[in-house]
């Protein structure tokens, strides 16, 4: 087991180098330079000033040279400074991470809990009215454009009813609140965005769960259990549910990189200063250091997520436990 883990971990290194090199080259090949937005078509910016800017950012050097420079810094965990405001990339990420992480963790926990419950209901009442109703609802959630739903809910809850604040993550005078009011204020601001995240993402887990349970129900060991005379309840919750949770482990492992990424749409509508907007803004401004920083961290987390899912798999399912050959 230990050699397996070490091998897997070591294999990540060349993979990570490969991913960062490809991303680096692709981003630099894409048309446009970080200096474009600042200078292009501004008649007050002379050609000389623009060339000077390119030189100062090191953009006049060959891409391979730029990659080498960037990579050597990255090895020291230094992702460089953002082109757009000169602040270190890691500082910018640190600033945005907590809110995205908080929203995503709350959302994923809710999605898993509600998704599993809906899946179980769907299986128990297979093809009955309630099953169909759930199916329709979760698919509506999936299909509905989140920006539209957001605006409709804002209109109802924030304007017509006035129960919730429209956007942002805190009120203008947040700093003068007591800790308790700060918490209430935050919660009020986050209700709608989290609801929209959850509503839009229920379909995956609930359908997965339902399907997986129905499949498990048809397995021979369930027949055995029935033959033993176990009650329906015990069969469903002890044998079927447990066995059906397996695929969830993979799903959750793969959602690890998703934890640090946010939705550009939801973050923009609710003016949440999260990771999704950071990435979007960086791409639009061709802010290479920030893009690369986010991509490398994303790649790393994806690989780790895969790896953890594999490990977790072997832990929860003895059949696929790693064997010494």
């Amino acid at each position: 087991m230990l050699t397996y883990i070490t091998k897997r971990l070591l294999a990540m290194i060349p993979l990570l180098i490969g991913i960062s090199f490809i991303s680096f080259v692709v981003i630099h090949l894409a048309p446009g330079k970080p200096t474009d937005l600042v200078t292009n078509l501004n008649p007050k910016v002379s050609l000389e000033a623009r060339m000077n800017l390119n030189k100062l950012y090191g953009l006049d050097k060959p891409v391979t040279h730029q990659f080498r420079m960037w990579f050597m810094r990255m090895l020291k965990l230094d992702f460089g400074e953002s082109f757009s405001d000169g602040r270190p990339v890691l500082v910018k990420i640190k600033e945005r991470l907590p809110i995205t992480l908080a929203i995503n963790i709350i959302a994923i926990v809710l999605i898993v809990i509600i998704g599993v419950i809906l899946g179980v209901i769907g299986c128990v009442f297979q093809d009955k009215f309630i099953d169909k109703l759930i199916t329709i609802l979760v698919f509506i959630g999936f299909a509905m454009p989140s920006f539209w739903l957001a605006l409709i809910l804002m209109d109802i809850f924030c304007i017509k009813l006035g129960w919730l604040p429209v956007l942002g993550i805190s009120s203008v005078d947040f700093d003068n609140f007591t800790p308790l009011f700060k918490l209430i204020d935050l919660a009020k601001h986050l209700v709608l965005p989290i609801f929209i995240y959850v509503f839009g993402s229920l379909v995956g887990i609930s359908r997965y769960m339902r399907q997986s349970m129905i499949e498990t129900l048809n397995k021979p060991f369930i027949l055995t259990a029935r033959a033993k005379g176990l009650s329906n309840r015990t069969i469903l919750f002890k044998h079927v549910l447990r066995n059906s949770l397996l695929p969830l482990v993979t799903l959750l492992g793969l959602s690890l990189p998703g934890l640090i990424s946010g939705s550009v749409i939801i973050e923009s509508i609710f003016a949440i200063p999260g990771m999704g907007r950071l990435f979007f803004e960086a791409v639009m401004a061709r802010d290479y250091p920030v893009i690369m920083g986010l991509l490398v961290i994303g790649a790393l987390l994806t690989m780790l997520g895969n790896f953890l899912a594999d490990i977790a798999y072997s832990v929860v399912d003895p059949r696929i436990r790693y064997k010494k050959s």
Partner: protein
Amino acid sequence: MKLGYNFINMRFLLSKISPYVFLIYLSILTTTSTALGSLSQNKDYGDAIVIASSADARTLIPILASDSASSQVCSHIFNGLVKYNKDLELVGDLAERWEISPDKLTITFYLRKDVWWQDGTKFTAKDVEFTFKKLIDPTTLTPYSGDFQMVKDFQIIDDYTIKVTYKEPFAPGLASWGMPIIPKHLLENQDLHKTAFIRNPIGTGPYRFKSWKSQQKIELYYYDKYFEGRPYISRYISRVIPDEDAVYLQLQTKDIDYAALSPIAYNFKTNTNFFQKNFTKFRLPSFSYTYLGYNLKNELFSDKRVRIALDYAIDKQEIINIVFFGLAKPITGPFVVDSWAYNKQIKMRSFDPQKAEQLLKEVGWIDRDGDGILDKDNKRFEFTITTNQGNEQRIRTAEIIQKRLKNIGIKVNIKVLEWSVFILECTEKRNFDTVLLGWSLSLDPDPFDIWHSSKTRQGEFNFIGYSNAEVDKLIIQARQTFDQQERANLYHKIHQIIFDEQPYLFLYTPDSLLIIDKRFQGIEVGPGGIGHNFIKWWVPKHLQRYKEIIQE
């Protein structure tokens, strides 16, 4: 799961990005103020103004700030030597007055002696020199060095007098001193790109910096020793709200006091009783225009009569009515409409497709093969309009032009490119028939960079390849003329020549649309907008919504 980076809605977001991606520093005039009329009643201090900004600032060092969000905030914290007043005339700001030498090479600025930096240090000529040196330093990441490169010699006469000598007479140089001045004593030994000052600035302006929460808000509060008196509104809060619809909802909950509106929001969404009761809307001129630029190297457009025919064939008012719901003005030339440089004598060519057809016939464009498209020497009159993605207004304009030209037998294709690709194709490769694009103008009308024939190198702005010896001569002459009336005459001539030659099809200048909460009093509308007397805006005590903050 919808948890990944989501790009589906990129277009939706992009359409909110301003059509004019760049912004010229001087066109933001929000801090400046003029002496108030004698009718100053008892005005109340206090309250806050909450402003919606579609993007966060990047840096609060004004000479590095190239985005409008940063410049906007900086304009409340810093001052330049000169500024534009309500009527768009240059007046003193940190400079009390100035003199121009008889040979027009030297400007002597006499600085105000009653200005203190917000940390209590006296403002002197050394700060101006420091700012100037940083501007021309090649290691400074500033896009504004151009005008200052024209300076031959910068001399400090005494603490409050400076003498700037130019290589040649350079009238736009005066306006360039509207560049905000930064404090030498705080930045002298600092790397401007990394210093903590970027996010904690100290200026001479009416507001001092209080806090900056990235991507959420920037808060300023009044500077009680401001040399023109403390501003009445105590707090200035700029909130980042990227989504336009969300801004509109925030207005309805009265969480925002001041926002820019799209034409559709201005005309329809904000027409309810609620908005009429609580807000005032402003329709102001903007310092930008949109045009169709011909690639003059393309032989389709080499004959001036063809370009004039196209001008007759397009109904500009129709475009304005459809695309802007009427909230724009048609234009005839390359200057800010209604500014002193704009030639108001020029009569716009009226919409007249028959005349257009007749002109094209003169040149030899006739539909000989009967396929509905004009031809000449076995070539069809067909061309492409290239424009940038993310600007719906431009795309719709292109579609209307396409339809109008189809009526007179010209086939138009529309190509929409992502901004960076677009720039590459048009300014560097010159690979276009026509471009639909906009210029944002500074208040100084010098058109050298766009219209002078020397500015046709790769990456420069005369990418249509316009060259007219008379215009070149007039542009240089105007650069050397300080007298506004004389300069105006020269620009009127340039305007006339360019109108006659039609290297661009001049289309429209969109109005700048604002909405402001009704509780703010003292807002004065001038040709330059409403920002010029911001520090005199006030709110009666009983209408104030935000608490006074305690000064430390």
